[in-house]
Symmetry: C2
Subunit: 319 residues, 2 copies
């Protein structure tokens, strides 16, 4: 009999969350461990194994598990390796998928977190039934997962879909952690929004609720709260962020002509504050053939479970 | 027995070229008719049929033909229609693939010319054996065909891969025929290069060989000839064109992580004059994971036959 469950593991820089998921996307069991606790990756895997086996036993043992999917920074689907991830305690190339497979005795695959989110959305969420869409995750950074012909795009080397590092400002763009300047991520991530706030508050003289907060500690959430109260500078920050995002989206559409762009993450929760300028500026920059035709959707996955669900969805495709 | 030949038809705004092609990409017979002669599309098809049947008989009759592939402006692979092509005499939606199929009694498919070029390059040319590459055609316009996982990307609606209409200049960009501003095509097509020449000659005072040509009639070929002779303004035009193209290529790489970008068309023949700045600026704007890894290749197809070969390649995949 086909095993009825999969395991999803979402490895972040701080926490590793995991869950056991059924075919309808219900998370039956949950757990988490600290990612940074062990500098020896084998000890990390040991702890993950113990924590997971406990909940695996609760659902009927490892025979019930079809496979393990993992979303991880710098995860490469083709090799199953995590390669040179700057925010993880283990350096170099770690053959994570193989290590999981050996430890648990079931198939395992990994990819990066934004790709996992795209697969999750296609399997359980807003992109169910879609063969062509682009997932954009707006968090600390800007990630993306691209689906074409029903398949995630990994490219020649497994690293395709780095749309957060396309250039949105060509001259005097902001310096990005990746070494480039002007990357979309430096403007439209949560940190990018906070950066825009600091810049605008420094060059502008008009009053703003944001001036009650120390400049260095302003977050995108503060900007949202101020915008909801009608603060002019905060509203302008959303307009600007949405403009850049909308312009970028129009270029993405010219590439793969998706049915929809699905947005996930903190910023997406700002609703129309961000979506209206995104939509307006995207439409303005689309070729006539696409005007009014590309859907902009919010993720349909419960935020707390989305990353685990996305990772788990990878496991359904395993042989 | 499997039919050994396919027909490729390249429909341009002025001429329609066609040929009979074997599996190794050899063009056994060639022909052409005027595209604009008939305002009734049925008469155009009739003339095409007569012209083609003549050479089909020479290679052994229609039983030898596996299918017909056509590259045409605004050709939609999914529907087989030519839809609202501004430079063709027939307005609205023309079900061209079906009309060919009925007339000739063999399977037929069509796509736009840049997509056909990509399939041609993958079947007979510089991208043989590649599963992930991007074809860029630099002609009167800038076209593109994107191959991912060995398949051409058509997107949700069949119109994917309009990279010539991604935005390369965001503020005060040039007006494009598509209705947008700042499109890559307005700077890096042959006409874009001539436009740059006119702009530069007007704002600059220094001497140039290009000043011997009436401003309105300067072509990209003139710029090339002047650059080869060491003309400073002409060289600057190539630098500028290559810079924009290289920056755009870096963003394309971030999307689909191709093994190579294959360039075709008049400008590509300028060799290092254009390729050096393209390469330098692409490399400078790539994420570290891709630096030094993405090949820039010239088309390996004989230019006179390339469009027909590309169209013909489509027919090998027909069922």
């Amino acid at each position: 009999m086909e095993s009825p469950y999969v395991i999803g593991i979402d490895m972040g820089g701080t926490n590793t969350a995991f869950g056991i998921v059924d075919m309808r996307g219900e998370v039956l069991r949950r757990g988490a461990i600290k990612t940074q606790k062990h500098t020896d990756v084998n000890l990390y895997i040991d702890e993950l194994y113990s924590a997971l086996m406990e909940i695996i036993e609760e659902v009927g043992g490892i025979e019930k598990i079809k496979g393990i999917g993992m979303g991880a920074p710098n995860g490469n689907y083709y090799t199953g390796n995590i390669e040179f991830a700057p925010n993880l305690p283990w350096k170099g190339v770690i053959p994570f998928a193989n290590m999981l497979k050996e430890k648990f005795g079931v198939p395992a695959a990994l990819t990066n977190d934004a790709n996992a989110a795209a697969i999750g959305e296609m399997t359980y969420g807003a992109a169910r039934g879609m063969k062509n869409f682009i997932m954009i995750t707006l968090g600390t950074g800007v990630g993306s997962g691209i689906v074409i012909n029903g398949q995630l795009v990994y490219g020649h080397d497994g690293f395709a879909g780095e749309l957060g590092h396309t250039t949105i400002v060509r001259n005097n763009g902001r310096v990005c952690g990746c070494g480039k300047t002007g990357c979309l991520e430096t403007y439209t991530s949560a940190t990018g929004v906070a950066r825009t706030a600091r810049e605008l508050l420094e060059i502008r003289k008009d009053d703003s609720l944001l001036r009650n907060i120390p400049l260095e500690s302003i977050t995108s959430k503060d900007v949202f709260d101020a915008a909801v109260k009608g603060d002019a500078i905060a509203l302008e920050i959303f307009e600007y962020t949405g403009k850049l995002l909308g312009e970028a989206f129009a270029d993405f559409v010219a590439f793969s002509a998706p049915e929809a762009i699905v947005i996930f993450g903190g910023l997406a929760k700002s609703g129309d504050l961000i979506m209206k300028p995104v939509r307006d500026n995207m439409e303005q920059n689309l070729l006539p053939i696409w005007k009014g035709k590309v859907k902009l959707l919010f993720s349909a996955l419960n935020e707390a479970d989305a990353a685990v669900l996305g990772a788990s969805a990878l496991a359904w495709e395993l042989k």
